[in-house]
């Protein structure tokens, strides 16, 4: 009866490997779960690593479009901190009484730029009222995050409307799920141009910035951060304070974000 025994042993080993039992040490310091706007990925990963090294507590970051994250929080997703890419979605969560009182503050600022794919040959674009965006696109599409809901898309649409160009490109969009997906479309050459944050363009070597949208063409870009009411993690607030601290500031600024939080000591 050796075969069934071996099969059973194999099955048990497989199950153990697939479902590791929680080790006692990990239960003490449950990781801090952060829901953050997609554009924060590069900077936040570095900052989180730095904080974990200092505090010994792990960080689990979930990046996505702010409306998607807001919806998940609303449905009870187990997040400790939320960093949105605009005020609307933080307001949304606040109205549902899901924020921990007194923890909300504006953390970062950003700007939006026009990026071009690797095979772009038309040089710099002067972004001014009525600039010939539709012509520049040729037969291609303008990659943007979803213009109805996602902050990067909303800022982009607002800027295009202010500049009087929105109608000429409204049906020539390639709307992506979040700003990083839009960035990928341009990087891959699927879309010749795209509107993303300056910080995204800096993070992706394959795209070139060919134009910058004036700050007054769209509402100010503000990333608020807050702790969530249902958070049970005692380290959440420590991480939130760290995000406003000098080590985090240095990394954010290096990646191109404007840091709005008041300077604090660490």
């Amino acid at each position: 009866m050796r075969l069934p025994f071996r099969a059973a042993a194999f099955a048990i080993a497989f199950a153990l490997a697939a479902f590791p039992l929680p080790s006692p040490a990990a239960a003490e310091n449950a990781p801090v779960v952060v829901f953050a706007a997609a554009s924060l990925k590069n900077a936040l990963d570095k900052i989180a690593a730095g904080w974990t090294a200092k505090s010994g507590v792990a960080v689990k970051a979930s990046y996505g479009a702010s409306p998607a994250l807001a919806k998940q929080i609303e449905e009870g997703a187990p997040a400790d901190l939320f960093i949105s890419a605009d005020l609307d979605w933080m307001d949304y969560v606040e109205k549902k009484n899901l924020l921990q009182a007194g923890t909300r503050d504006n953390l970062l600022g950003n700007s939006i730029v026009l990026v071009a794919s690797p095979d772009w040959t038309k040089g710099e674009v002067k972004i001014a009222p009525n600039f010939p965006l539709a012509d520049l696109l040729g037969g291609g599409r303008l990659a943007m995050a979803g213009v109805a809901m996602v902050p990067a898309g909303k800022y982009g649409k607002a800027a295009l409307e202010t500049l009087g160009v929105w109608n000429s490109v409204a049906n020539r969009l390639a709307e992506a799920e979040n700003v990083r997906a839009a960035l990928a479309l341009v990087a891959r050459g699927e879309a010749p141009l795209g509107i993303v944050y300056r910080t995204d363009a800096a993070a992706e070597p394959k795209v070139k910035i060919v134009g910058t949208f004036p700050d007054d063409s769209h509402p100010p870009i503000v990333y608020p951060a807050a702790a969530l009411a249902n958070s049970k993690n005692p380290y959440a607030e420590a991480l939130l304070r760290y995000l406003a601290g000098p080590e985090a500031r240095a990394i954010f600024e290096k990646d191109g974000f404007a840091v709005l939080a008041r300077r604090t000591s660490s």
Partner: protein
């Protein structure tokens, strides 16, 4: 029954899904017939690999299939660039791309069903046709194909239903452009990602269920009628 009112966006998604699934499925029929016949009747070197290739979309994660389609048929992919410059055929962000993804994902189901019915076709009847003067193409068209019709139909319906529900490959390959590639499943997904989209998602999900059921019922009905006419 206000909640049954579909918005223009929702109608777009329904119409697009039907168009994508129909075009994708029927466009893949000739290749499906060929592959099924080759697998059922011929012996050739590399047959096992051919069989594996045909079944690949069935076992690969759909997003991997979509990714491979992107690499090959995207604007800068070898096949995509050629088709665009030679024939003006573009798949990126277009419903044609969604149809291609749907066709590829449904292909294994199509081939499996048709292959079974070719294998079941009575060879003795084909022999009789040959003795009556029919050459190989005529035997195929006048005897094999009509006898295999119930299986071909079943395969088409399966592939159609798969195409209606195709999501992973579509969204990876041609993204989610309203009116072009926002099919039913993609639209439902988009609605579930934003606050306030739940009612839309539920409505479209109901439509998807109804369409799939209808496809199954029609295929069953047609299959039985044809089998009855052929039987014996």
């Amino acid at each position: 029954m206000d909640w049954l009112q579909f918005s223009p966006d929702e109608w777009d998604a329904i119409r697009l899904s039907l168009r994508v699934a129909t075009v994708g499925t029927f466009a893949s029929l000739p290749a499906g017939l060929f592959a099924a016949y080759a697998l059922a009747r011929w012996r050739f070197p590399g047959k096992i690999f051919f069989d594996g290739l045909v079944h690949l979309p069935l076992v690969l994660p759909p997003v991997v299939t979509g990714y491979l389609l992107l690499i090959l048929f995207g604007r800068r992919g070898p096949i995509g660039a050629f088709l665009e410059s030679a024939f003006g055929i573009v798949f990126s962000f277009r419903w044609t791309g969604a149809a291609l993804a749907a066709a590829v994902m449904g292909f294994p189901l199509l081939v499996r069903a048709i292959r079974l019915s070719f294998e079941a076709a009575d060879r003795r009847l084909e022999d009789a046709a040959r003795t009556l003067g029919a050459n190989a193409p005529l035997v195929f068209l006048t005897v094999t194909l009509p006898l295999a019709l119930p299986g071909i139909l079943a395969g088409l319906v399966l592939a159609f239903a798969k195409a209606l529900g195709e999501f992973g490959a579509t969204i990876t390959f041609v993204s989610n452009i309203p009116g072009e590639t926002r099919t039913l499943p993609t639209a439902i997904y988009t609605y579930t990602q934003v606050p306030g989209g739940d009612a839309n998602a539920a409505r479209l999900a109901a439509v998807a269920i109804v369409l799939s059921l209808a496809a199954l019922v029609v295929s069953e009905f047609l299959s039985r009628r044809i089998a009855a006419r052929i039987g014996g």
